[in-house]
């Protein structure tokens, strides 16, 4: 499946700066969506494609750094590249600690912005990949019967069929049958792979 076209979101209250960034991105074949405020960005639908956010620090009403925190709290994960006319060290370090890709001073150089955008999109691709894997695993897990789930929970703890049978009150042969079906449904070819899948299925501490 070909990857959907990446989108770069640009939030800056100055129309001429937004426009210029969009022009630059267009000239190198990237697609931009422009917003004059964080509010507009929050309310806009985001396409299901790799994306990153180019965010001005000084915005009317809200500080870009605070918005970064607000996004994280709301569970919206998007790589952020800050741009600012007057940054200082504490500002930069706060943004970077909170996971920003880059902190650029206006006016910035093309190479710096494009490199940061590349890095941001790459990070988002990794996140999307992980998300896709987890949701496919969840889908497989949903297809298991409750008995198969019980068997899976015990298999990953390292118990052999006999012990599992004793715990669940089943014969060794029955356990074997459940186990086989479960491995098939989960598309796991080895015990080690199943254990890794089970780890991924646990409620995630995101990134």
């Amino acid at each position: 499946m070909p990857e959907p076209r990446p989108t770069i979101f640009v939030v800056d209250d100055d129309a001429s700066v937004r426009d210029a960034i969009s022009n630059l991105l267009e000239s190198v074949g990237l697609q931009a969506q422009l917003f004059g405020s964080t509010e507009e960005f929050r309310n806009a639908p985001r396409p299901d494609a790799p994306s990153c956010l180019v965010l001005d620090v000084r915005l009317p009403g809200v500080n870009g750094l605070d918005f970064q925190e607000a996004l994280e709290k709301a569970g919206i994960f998007i790589p952020i590249i800050f741009i600012t006319a007057h940054g200082d060290v504490p500002m930069t370090s706060r943004a970077m600690k909170a996971g920003a890709i880059e902190f650029l001073m206006k006016p910035f150089q093309k190479e710096d912005l494009l490199a940061a955008i590349d890095q941001g999109l790459e990070r988002d691709r990794v996140w999307r990949e992980e998300d896709a894997q987890i949701s496919s695993l969840r889908e497989r897990f949903r297809q298991l019967t409750s008995r198969e789930r019980e068997v899976m929970d015990l298999v990953v703890t390292g118990l052999i069929n006999k012990q599992i049978g004793a715990q669940l009150g089943l014969s060794e042969v029955t356990v074997k049958i459940h186990r086989g079906r479960m491995m098939q449904k989960m598309q796991a070819s080895s015990l080690a792979q199943l254990v890794r899948m089970s780890d991924k299925l646990k409620p995630q501490l995101r990134r």
């Binding site: 210029a20 000239s27 007057h86 006016p107 910035f108």
Partner: protein, 381 residues
């Protein structure tokens, strides 16, 4: 605390024995008067003793009040309660005597507590008045400081917002420029996009220029706020304002002001900003010197119908080339400077038909000076 805790007035004026002497005297006076009045009344007129008790308690306090109750009791018993001229009390007079004692005690208590509350009230009022005048003085000081501070801030804020205003179109121009290179590098070159991009660059560049002319207009327009004032006063206020900062930076600020300078007609706040800006610059320059006296000298005098104000520092100094460059917008020698202070200061002085320039100081350091025309008050131009 500044105020003297006001001790109850009775205690302050009269010493301990004096207060008891008052008790003795008032009771003695009551006795004499009662003895004299005996001829006119069939019964002893004892009410005067209550007066004595109340007076003692009022002027002497609780102790002398009770003391006067005691001696009044003895005196009344001796002279006026049968058997007379003896301290014994006949059975028939017991109730009468007890009533007298009770009344005297009550009178003493009422009088002394009334006095106490009156003293406390006065005390409170005095304190309140002192506090009010202290706070008023504090408030006036804070207000004066705030007024000064807001001027410093407005200069800093102004420069920051100018920087931002200019940086935005500048960012757009640079970014469009990068895009332009990309459009031209495409094969075939995208000339339509290039043309569009250059048009936007022209718009953004024009916008940056407009920001600057708006600032220039700002200082020219503010001319009507002119008023007559004494430059010496402005300089004096600023030296007071900067004193703590100077002490902190170990810089001595001296002034050499010719008394009785002719007043000039100008925008006082703007000129304050200029002098403050020059002084702050001077202090920054001095901060970097070592091995020379760290000082700032501000002088004001009249010369050829012009007022001349000089701010001399013993700092790093400047050469003839930078002496003119530093007045250009956005030229700065400071690591965190924006380079607007001197440029704005010069616009202010020029809008007052004066001149602001800098020269190296012969003994090391720099001199920033400005002139303002002195006009006769009548012309009121």
């Amino acid at each position: 605390m500044l105020y003297v805790d006001p001790v109850p007035i009775a205690a302050r004026i009269r010493s301990f024995p004096q207060r008891y002497a008052i008790a003795l005297l008032t009771v003695a006076a009551a006795l004499v008067a009662t003895l004299l009045l005996r001829r006119f009344f069939p019964y002893p007129f004892l009410f005067l003793f209550f007066g004595a008790v109340m007076a003692s308690a009022w002027f002497g306090g609780t102790g002398p009040g009770l003391f006067s109750v005691l001696i009044s009791t003895l005196v009344v018993d001796y002279f006026f309660v049968p058997p007379f001229h003896s301290l014994a009390i006949s059975t028939s007079a017991e109730a009468y005597f007890a009533a007298f004692v009770a009344c005297a005690l009550v009178a003493s208590w009422v009088s002394s507590s009334k006095k106490k509350s009156e003293v406390a009230l006065k005390h409170g009022l005095d304190r309140l008045e002192i506090r009010v005048s202290e706070r008023t003085a504090e408030l006036m000081k804070t207000q004066a400081e705030l007024a000064h501070l807001s001027q410093v801030l407005s200069m800093a804020e102004l420069t920051a917002s100018i920087a931002h205003e200019i940086n935005q179109p500048l960012t757009a121009v640079v970014t469009h420029g990068h895009a332009c290179v990309e459009w031209l590098s495409a094969s075939p070159p995208n000339l339509e996009k290039t043309r569009q991009t250059i048009e936007r660059m022209i718009q953004d560049g024009t916008r940056a220029g407009a920001v600057l002319s708006r600032i220039r207009a700002l200082f020219k327009k503010e001319a009507p706020a002119k008023d007559w004032f004494d430059m010496n006063e402005v300089i004096h206020e600023l030296t007071v304002f900067l004193r703590d900062e100077a002490v902190r930076r170990r810089i001595s600020i001296r002034t050499d002001l010719v008394p009785g300078l002719t007043k000039v007609k100008a925008d006082r706040v703007q000129l304050q900003q200029v002098v403050l800006n020059l002084m702050m610059n001077g202090m920054d320059a001095v901060a970097e010197t070592t091995g020379r006296p760290r000082e700032l000298l501000i002088s004001a005098r009249e010369e050829d119908s012009e007022l001349l104000v000089r701010v001399e520092d013993s700092g790093i100094g400047l050469n003839a080339e930078t002496a003119e460059k530093i007045f250009q917008p956005f030229f700065t020698t400071k690591p965190h400077g924006i380079g607007m202070g001197l440029s704005i200061s010069r616009s202010i002085i020029e809008s007052h038909e004066g001149h602001l320039w800098a020269v190296p100081r012969p003994t090391g350091g720099a001199v920033f000076q400005f002139t303002l025309p002195i006009r006769p008050k009548e012309s009121d131009a």
